[in-house]
Subunit: 354 residues, 2 copies
């Protein structure tokens, strides 16, 4: 089987082979920022039917740090997850979380949010960090420009990003050779399409990345505050240009309706904090829309959150009980809401794959 | 089978029959203060081998309140727990948590911590509340005097407590008749021995309670700040005087070594916040003592918290990972620590029963 096997083009369905297992696409990747999907065990992730999870190189690099990850031979054993893991490169976090960062042709320098220490990320160091993590799918270091971003800045930024992409690929292949990784053990490397909302830059980005050659292509620089129609336009044009035989990953998107739209454009992979973060705020995704479980109207409601849902939460607990848990700030409430929302998202993807 | 079947007197082992199942003793009751064992599902409580849990009448009365509990036909369905539940009377909470409470012969009046509303608890109202909760084992309303407590106050307080005990029993029997509860559906009612650290008052308390006649007897007014040798002395003298054919419950105790001591004196039932509360502070009970998992010495330690433990946490996670979860304030850490500590306590009891 090739790394990515396209089972059907319309609707687009596929199988993505990674060192830790096969991911049926379209796929949603729950977020385990620092090596844990907030409130849940990996056993629960398995039960929920998650085929792959996403973790954050930037956060893992800071805590627990590479020494601890090395000691466990990587993130899989550390967090007790035997399935595939995709890690972002940390670029997005550096550009969204840190101040006084400095971009040079070499890489990006910033001060640690934990101890203020100066840290430099380069395309090469980020690949090496992901090898320590033991990622199944690695992302290249990119600059993710903010929205809005004028043409000149976007063009300049893209040049850096493309240069970094080539260096990432070179370094990745060097390491694969050095480590003598067989095809089944070799992780995948994804390039990231940038170019802001400028179609010619996006096009150039795709042409150049495809020339370098990656196992998959991510559409970056979306879900950064742009209007929804801009996100839609960019996603549509990028998916039309990207090679059909490689997986496409739309970074950081999104709401169920955004995912549905992107799937119809031919996107294969998604990640988003929405299901888990909104769960912790008492916002439950249901077939009838978002339910604000803290609302007093649910105080005496003995029905499950979603009467047609088969998740652990809906099979065992009432709206009234969930509301009670949120009203007393009981952590079990956050857990039950997280389980429900992830079930909703993962079930949505299952529906697309049918 | 009688309500309490003594299987062996030395070591003391028994079986306590309740409407929701049989509890082998000595038993430890994990605390579900407001209808949830903090961070855990009731499914996890079952897996851990909890035979009975404890919930707090005072807290449930305030939140979710009786209307919501009635709507679910009681706490069992509300929290999705099909096993036995013991509820305290709320007396301890009134005396330890509220200010400006007023004790009259009728009952105790205080202001709600939630909305400031004036609330009066009487022996009768507390029984009725426990019927709404659907408790398997009800506790009578008592006054729990603080430590230290002089003889005169303890004597006066005991007189009130004994009067309330008689009224509780009368009201309980009246309700059992009204509700036409068959022996298998009839909850149990426990009296509470008070009298401070004064042996003659404790003795009087036991004589009078036994004369009234309860399904079991609790030793109250301990674990309220008194020195350990006082707790030991009172427990020892009370267990020696209490009827051998009824279960004895030592309220709010304690550390594993205290439980071990009390079991040797013939105590059958325990509850304590220690395993769950200390778990949330990163204090893990192990066969080799308490492990402070946040300690830096565990940063690179890939061993399970307790190498000889068979709990879910120890079977799946390292000290290093647990420490990481606590260092990033990840709720999963609180869960895994709670599972471990409850396993330790429940396993300790299993050991006593062998």
């Amino acid at each position: 089987m090739p790394t990515f096997k396209l089972l059907s083009q319309k609707p687009r369905r596929g199988l993505l082979k990674t060192p830790h297992g096969i991911v049926p696409t379209p796929a949603f990747m729950p977020i385990a920022t620092r090596g844990a999907v907030k409130t849940l065990t990996t056993q629960e992730m398995k039960t929920l039917g998650a085929d792959i999870i996403l973790s954050n190189t930037y956060h893992l690099f800071q805590r627990p740090g590479l020494e601890i990850l090395k000691k466990h031979n990587g993130l899989h054993a550390f967090m007790n997850w035997s399935g595939p893991i995709l890690t972002d490169s940390g670029g997005f976090q550096v550009f969204s979380l840190t101040r006084l960062r400095k971009i040079t042709p070499e890489g990006v320098t910033f001060n640690s949010e934990i101890d203020g220490k100066k840290i430099t990320l380069t395309p090469e160091s980020v690949i090496d960090t992901q090898f320590v993590i033991g990622s199944d799918i690695m992302m290249v270091l990119d600059e993710c420009p903010p929205w809005p971003c004028d043409y000149e800045y976007a063009k300049k930024s893209l040049a850096t990003t493309l240069d970094w992409a080539q260096r990432s690929k070179n370094h990745f292949e060097k390491r694969v050779k050095q480590k003598k990784l067989t095809p089944t053990k070799r992780p995948l490397l994804f390039g990231i399409v940038q170019g802001g909302t400028h179609e010619d830059l996006r096009k150039e980005s795709i042409t150049r990345l495809v020339k370098i050659g990656f196992d998959g292509y991510a559409i970056g620089g979306v879900a950064v505050g742009e209007p929804k129609n801009e996100m839609k336009r960019i996603t549509k044009m990028c998916t039309a240009l990207l090679p059909k035989d490689k997986p496409r990953y739309l970074m950081g998107v999104g709401k169920p309706e955004d995912i549905k739209m992107a799937v119809s454009f031919g996107v294969d992979m998604f990640d988003c904090v929405i299901p888990t973060r909104e769960a912790r705020h008492g916002q439950l995704y249901t077939t009838k829309g978002v339910m604000k479980i803290k609302n007093e109207r649910y105080a005496l409601d003995t029905r499950p959150p979603d009467t047609s849902c088969t998740c652990f939460t809906c099979k065992n607990y009432s709206r009234s009980y969930l509301r009670h848990l949120f009203s007393i700030n009981e952590l079990l409430g956050l857990r039950l809401a997280t389980i429900h929302n992830l079930h909703f998202y993962l079930n949505l993807m299952k529906g697309f794959r049918k």
